[in-house]
Amino acid sequence: MNSQAFFIVAGIFAAVIGLGGGWWAAQPHNDLSQYDRLGAEIGCQCGTCPKRPIATCGCAFADGMLGELAELTDGSRSDAEVMETFAVRYDPSVRIKPAADGLGLLAWIAPMLMLTVGAVGVGALLTRWIAMQQADEALADSDSAVVPAIDLDDDALAIVERELADLDT
């Protein structure tokens, strides 16, 4: 496989990794309880905080929202249902983590895709530059190795030797 084909395959592989990484990053933290998980994904709506997660905001308004979250996360509702309830009560902007589907998924995928495909791109660039350098070195080596064959008779050779001797002095 030549290097161009290799990097095309590598680029496709990197794109798959980037897409997968973005999708993975978008998934909810299933190792946390529903209360902790959604507390980190719902933004404070007090208007003063920069929509910080209510779990860490600390303002009185966020505390009130946390109380509501505690009531809603009694095990009878899915994450989507709880989020929908908050969106209706407050504003759709209450959700500060883009969803793992639709346009929201694009938010997650784009940076990952740029990183993985970019890494392959840098790799390809490096390979190209190194190949150019090696080609230059090979050319320089071959230039120095070639000695033009010149047939000189004895008189001409004596002239050259005398000229060289003059140069030395």
């Binding site: 920069p50 929509k51 860490t56 190194i130």
Partner: protein, 655 residues
């Protein structure tokens, strides 16, 4: 005085426009007289902008509430330092700060280079003066700081109480010194493109300017984080707010440039890329200024929504179109004989470092603008907050931390496997030992382990570099090891100053990891005499006090912290009610140690029930290391900035 201020602004605008015309004509026709006149226009414009700024400060200090800006941002009882800092507390004043900082930089650049770079300087003057003209025109036509009210209020509204904080008094000027400072490298880059003088002289001319701007931007970001920590009362220091992000993005790209420019200086490579990085950095500075003034994204830090957003968007579009057009025009001359000898080289590590920094910038930009993008695409604004930024950026920054350690271990041009083995053994051993220790001690999760292990790896790299270099010098010169290391740093300030900056980054990474992962918090409602325990401390609530200072009503709670049976320190969290402001401000009480901060917020109180109070108590591990890391980073940058004596003596040093 109002008339004087307005006249000075109009005169500054006129002088700057004249200077732009004179510089361009002088450069085109190669008329030294016109170029000298343009340089004089730089000095005159600078003096006029300084005069206008001085006038506004005078109006603030003399409580001239007939001036709208003074009435909105100051009041009679406002402490003197905050009357001065009110200069940048509002929209029009912040534009004045932009203009005056740029005027200062522009004058210094013109003075230092008055006998240097004759092909470049006219165009540098033109770019700087046109930027000043833009900001002054905004003040004249849209956000006039000298606008007079039809009546004179008895007192002003006062500056936003959140801004009345020592860190906030110094944060905007330092941040602006950073933002605006990148105008000078940008001006030199454009000058090189326009004049066609694309050798490395423009790079040498901007080397120190770039580091100075980067230094102030770093200081400004750190001060902003500290302000958020002590003033906003949520226990954290970075909330991925759009305005915070706006300052972070140019920092990331400028950091990429500071690395990639070494490849151009050493090997003549990445010439187009470096040009793009300078343009992007300046563009992101303008973009950040646009973001805080346009109202397109919601932020607690933003100024009131205004019509300035359209002006900034148009200006940014012109700047980018012009700059990128010039790059495209000069592309054949910018193409370098890009050659690399090996993948295992410092050059390739710098390329990956640039990739990661640019991707980090993209991720921040993408998240910041995604609400706008999503609304434009399908009409629904998708909010993007800290969960997104943390999740996306943590792996990227870990990769960056790894490259911070790897880069210095690889030789320029080509590294042999034996030399790599020698260079990596000790740092890799440190990495593995730390990783194992983290896993055994069950410190957080995988990200925590990797972050701490990489921090150890980078530290080991830096120590090894100093150690090896110092030993080699000591062996050849007969100096002691400490002196050899010192002289080594003096001989190669940029390299070893850079390593000190890396140590600063590591300390910050450790602080961010510790406080992000191991923060604990407790909420408690107490009566006087009652106690609450938080992470080994017992805090006893003493009393609630209500009083007034400088026209501000203060609710103050006093707690004594016990570490075992011994009272160790007192904490006094407060809430301040400023006149004519809707919401009280939170004045947190922080006890700061090397291991952790104890952070107490007065969340609520009821004076009727014997002075009952509700507290939020946070234990924030290792936060102090973030600020120490900031100081180390500044120290390292200052090492890089120390002039080389031999060059200064010969008069060829570049600024």
């Amino acid at each position: 005085m109002v008339l004087l201020g307005q006249t000075l602004l109009v005169a500054a605008f006129t002088a700057s426009i004249y200077g732009v015309a004179a510089a361009m004509l002088g450069a085109r026709r190669q008329q030294a007289g016109l170029v000298a006149s343009a340089r004089n226009a730089v000095y005159v414009t600078g003096a006029l902008v300084f005069g206008a700024t001085g006038t506004l400060i005078y109006l603030l200090l003399t409580d001239r509430f007939d001036v709208q800006y003074v009435a909105q941002n100051s009041r009679l009882e406002q402490p003197l330092p905050y009357k001065i800092s009110a200069l940048w507390g509002g929209m029009a004043g912040s534009l004045m700060l932009w203009a005056v900082v740029l005027a200062g930089y522009m004058v210094v650049a013109a003075w230092i280079n008055r006998d240097r770079h004759p092909e470049l300087m006219p165009w540098v003057h033109a770019v700087c003066l046109s930027t000043v003209a833009f900001f002054v025109s905004l003040m004249i036509f849209s956000a006039n700081p000298f606008q007079v009210l039809p009546f004179t209020p008895l007192d002003g509204q006062g500056m936003n109480p959140l801004l009345q904080n020592p860190a906030m008094a110094s944060h905007p000027p330092t941040l602006y010194l950073g933002y605006v400072g990148f105008t000078i490298p940008f001006a030199f880059a454009l000058a090189a493109l326009i004049s066609g003088k694309l050798d490395t002289s423009w790079l040498h001319a901007i080397r120190r300017w770039t580091i100075v701007a980067w230094f102030f931007l770093s200081v400004g970001i750190t001060l902003g984080a500290q302000w958020a920590y002590v003033e906003l009362g949520w226990g954290g220091y970075w909330g991925w707010d759009p305005v915070e992000n706006a300052s972070f993005m140019p920092w990331l790209v400028a950091t990429a440039y500071l690395h990639s420019v070494m490849m151009e200086e050493k090997k003549g490579m990445l010439r187009v890329w470096n040009m793009l990085m300078i343009i992007a950095t300046f563009g992101l500075c303008i973009f950040g200024t646009f973001l805080t003034r346009s109202g397109i994204v919601s932020s607690v830090h933003a100024f009131a929504t205004s019509n300035l957003g359209a002006f900034f968007a148009a200006y940014l579009a012109v700047v980018l179109a012009l700059s990128l057009g010039l790059v495209a025009w000069r592309l054949p001359q910018l193409r370098s004989a890009s050659r690399l000898e090996s993948v295992l080289s410092r050059e390739s590590s710098f390329l990956f470092n640039n990739l990661v920094l640019v991707v980090a910038c993209f991720a921040v930009l993408w998240g910041t603008m995604f609400p706008v993008i999503s609304e434009a695409v399908n009409g629904v604004k998708i909010t993007v907050g800290p969960p997104f930024f943390n999740r996306v950026n943590i792996p990227i920054f870990l990769a960056l931390l790894a490259l911070t350690g790897i880069g210095p271990l690889i030789a320029w041009r080509r590294a042999s496997l034996p030399s790599l083995r020698r260079a990596f053994v000790w740092p890799t051993g440190t990495f593995l030992a730390t990783l194992i220790a983290c896993v055994v001690l069950d410190l957080g999760g995988p990200y925590t382990w990797i972050s701490l292990a990489l921090s150890a790896f980078v530290t080991a790299t830096v120590i090894q570099e100093f150690w090896r270099g110092g030993r080699a010098r000591a062996a050849s010169s007969g100096e002691g090891l400490a002196l050899a290391m010192l002289n080594l740093t003096r001989r190669n300030k940029r390299r070893y100053g850079g390593y000190v900056i890396h140590v600063g980054i590591v300390l910050m990474a450790v602080g961010i990891t510790g406080s992000g992962v191991f923060q604990t918090d407790v909420e408690a409602t107490l009566r006087p005499g009652e106690t609450v325990d938080v992470a080994g401390y017992r805090l006893q609530f003493e009393e609630l006090d209500i009083f007034a200072v400088d026209g501000v009503d203060v609710v103050s709670a006093s707690l004594v912290a016990f570490d075992g049976p011994r009272a160790r320190f007192r904490m006094v969290p407060q809430r301040h009610f400023h006149p004519r402001q809707d919401n009280p401000t939170t004045e947190v009480a922080i006890w700061s140690g090397m291991r952790h901060d104890l952070y107490v917020v007065l969340a609520g109180w009821n004076n009727d029930e014997g002075g009952m109070a509700t507290f939020k108590l946070y234990l924030n591990p290792l936060v102090k290391w973030i600020w120490i890391g900031g100081f180390v980073l500044m120290f390292g940058t200052l090492i890089c900035l120390v002039p080389d004596r031999s060059l200064s003596d010969s008069g060829t040093a570049n600024y």
